[in-house]
Subunit: 154 residues, 2 copies
DNA sequence: ATATCTGCAAAGACTTTGCAACCTT
DNA sequence: AAGGTTGCAAAGTCTTTGCAGATAT
């Protein structure tokens, strides 16, 4: 997986290409599995692993293979339609992007729910620190973990 | 996979290594492997995976098994004597801690070298954002990646 | 002498790939 | 009918564990 911020040397001028009727939701090939997976992602409030999502779908009686789940999530993340992070165990966790802009996540350690936070300040800090060290083309990963209000009171 | 980053010239510094009398609770046995691995870590300027370190040691003629490297690194990280991060591929990367205080890393995507950066600004930002969302007991992970001066000019 | 440490082989966990059957267009 | 899609099985990664033999104190 490549963490590459948009290179400043992008000469690829606007080529919208709305081609397919990408009406808001997912439009790939109208397969049952694709839709079901998409719906599952919409229902998620926090990050989940491919295996968790798969298990959940099966539990609901859906007929879908783990391979398919992995393949869809892979494509979706490459297209930037889902965010991915890695948990402590190295598993990849997925979550549908809410905002299109660059952002970070504040995830609850207990329930897994997460909120997207705007990180202008961090962005500027990263840029500054990098410049001071002579580094260029800087990219960054930032994740916040804590306990959400609900879990804290419980 | 082709994780050919970090040249990580492991200098075979025959560190004197004070006569194995670790104060405190941890008692380590003075084995050749343990010393060699420790020396390798001291020579690292950036993060390296267990496999890279192992390969490097073997290249230098050291007789040490991959299992042993993994086991030592595991213990060292639990004791907080080495930092660990995960690369994009999910591999665990290790590096001897330089400063004891809380800090973050700015790592070169090309050569793997890294510098520790002080993150007061981020800490404050994280705290503020978390509080605004009602979260408590907040923790965070921040990693910066870019291209160092040397690699940029090369 | 003996509690540890080593390291090969095998097991585990997660993810990707090969490929024949299946389904949508 | 054509071509993308699916999913089982097998392969591939990185990492951990079982256990017998080697080693430090």
């Amino acid at each position: 997986m490549e963490h590459q911020q948009a290179p400043a040397t992008v000469r690829n001028v606007t080529t919208p290409l709305p081609a397919k009727s990408l009406s808001g939701g997912t439009r790939v090939r109208g397969t049952r599995q694709a839709e079901v997976l998409s719906a599952a992602l919409d229902g998620l409030s926090g990050f989940c692993s491919a295996q968790q999502i798969h298990a959940e779908l099966r539990r609901h009686g859906e007929r879908i293979g783990l391979t398919t789940v992995y393949r869809h999530l892979q494509v979706l993340s490459q297209d930037g339609r889902v965010d991915t992070i890695r948990d402590a165990g190295g598993e990849i966790l997925y979550r549908r992007c809410r905002s299109k802009a660059h952002h970070h996540h504040l995830t609850c350690k207990s329930c897994g729910r997460s909120v997207e936070v705007e990180g202008g300040a961090v962005e500027r800090w990263a840029e500054r620190v990098a410049t001071e060290a002579g580094f260029t083309n800087v990219d960054h990963t930032v994740e916040l973990f804590g306990q959400c209000p609900e879990c804290a009171s419980a």
